[in-house]
């Protein structure tokens, strides 16, 4: 890790404070000395200084933090790509620009199903809506996301939402057709 000005480094380390505390709970060694619980409680500034000092001489930790930083960057890139695909899909449907912007905004949270697909499910009867939305969300979180990854999981959620909407539309039409036949 290259040498940084003290002020800059302290500020940067503070932003990763939660990471050190987490590290302390999960892995006692070799980072234990960076996260003395007494240091945190007794004198926060002193603790930060100690962390800063130890950090300079700890290449392992520097590598670990760089790796975490890299993973965060990758995850953010992946989400950005996902949103770009989503935007392209919406444009292909020729929807109004304002609606696209609102939809993209709502799709920002990666571990929840696409909200715009949920709006589609508002078409299904109220008595089944809660159960169906929950079932689709459970499927998304427990099967689709772990097995297929974010992009395919979102695609499948959309597909299953469309199938669900189509099933209820078909059932409604059949019921209408039967009532016409009776009359």
């Amino acid at each position: 890790m290259s040498e940084l000005k003290d002020e800059h480094q302290v500020e940067w380390l503070e932003s990763y404070e939660h990471l050190y505390v987490l590290q302390h709970h999960q892995d006692q060694d070799p980072y234990e000395r960076l996260c003395e619980p007494a240091g945190v409680g007794a004198n926060e500034q002193q603790w930060h200084n100690q962390v800063q000092l130890n950090f300079r001489f700890n290449e392992d930790l520097a590598e670990k933090v760089a790796e975490v930083n890299h993973q965060i960057q990758l995850s953010l890139t992946s989400t950005a790509e996902e949103m770009e695909t989503f935007k392209l899909g919406l444009r292909a449907l020729n929807l109004p620009g304002q609606w696209i912007r609102t939809s993209v905004k709502t799709a920002e949270v990666a571990d929840t199903p696409p909200r715009t697909a949920k709006f589609l499910l508002l078409l299904i009867p109220k008595k089944n809506r809660e159960g169906i939305l929950g079932d689709l969300e459970e499927e998304y979180r427990t099967i689709l996301l772990p097995e297929y990854g974010l992009r395919l999981a979102r695609f499948y959620y959309w597909w299953h939402s469309l199938l669900t909407g189509a099933s209820f539309l078909l059932a409604g039409l059949q019921s209408l057709s039967r009532s016409f036949k009776r009359n």
């Binding site: 299904i124 939305l133 909407g165």
Partner: protein
């Protein structure tokens, strides 16, 4: 039992899945049970429309359960097979076994 009360093939599968799952029979679990046992992929919409139809016939009853975090805080809709549903299943099973009698070698012991 009237002619309208005969069960379709998918209705039989759904009723059997609900019966097998007992107190844990809600939409997603029923869908998974059908997929695992019958090897049949069905959409959640097709499942609910079938369960709605069975409920209208009085073969199943439903109630809302408690919300859970993995469902985004949404409640489960549970289903239970009623006595008339069990009777309809027995009737379907009897009809099928009667039709199959003497044809076991052709069907390879499928029943």
């Amino acid at each position: 039992m009237g002619s309208k009360d005969w069960l379709g093939e998918f209705e039989q599968i759904v009723l059997l899945a609900v019966l097998r799952l007992g107190p844990d029979a809600y939409g997603f679990r029923v869908q998974q049970e059908i997929k695992e046992r019958a090897g049949r992929d069905c959409s959640i919409g097709a499942l609910y429309t079938t369960l709605d139809r069975l409920e209208q016939k009085g073969f199943v009853s439903s109630w809302m359960g408690e919300p859970t975090p993995e469902r985004g805080g949404r409640a489960k809709k549970y289903f239970k097979v009623e006595a008339s549903g069990e009777a309809a299943l027995r009737q379907s099973y009897a009809a099928t076994t009667s039709m199959v009698a003497g044809m076991e070698s052709l069907l390879g012991g499928a029943l």
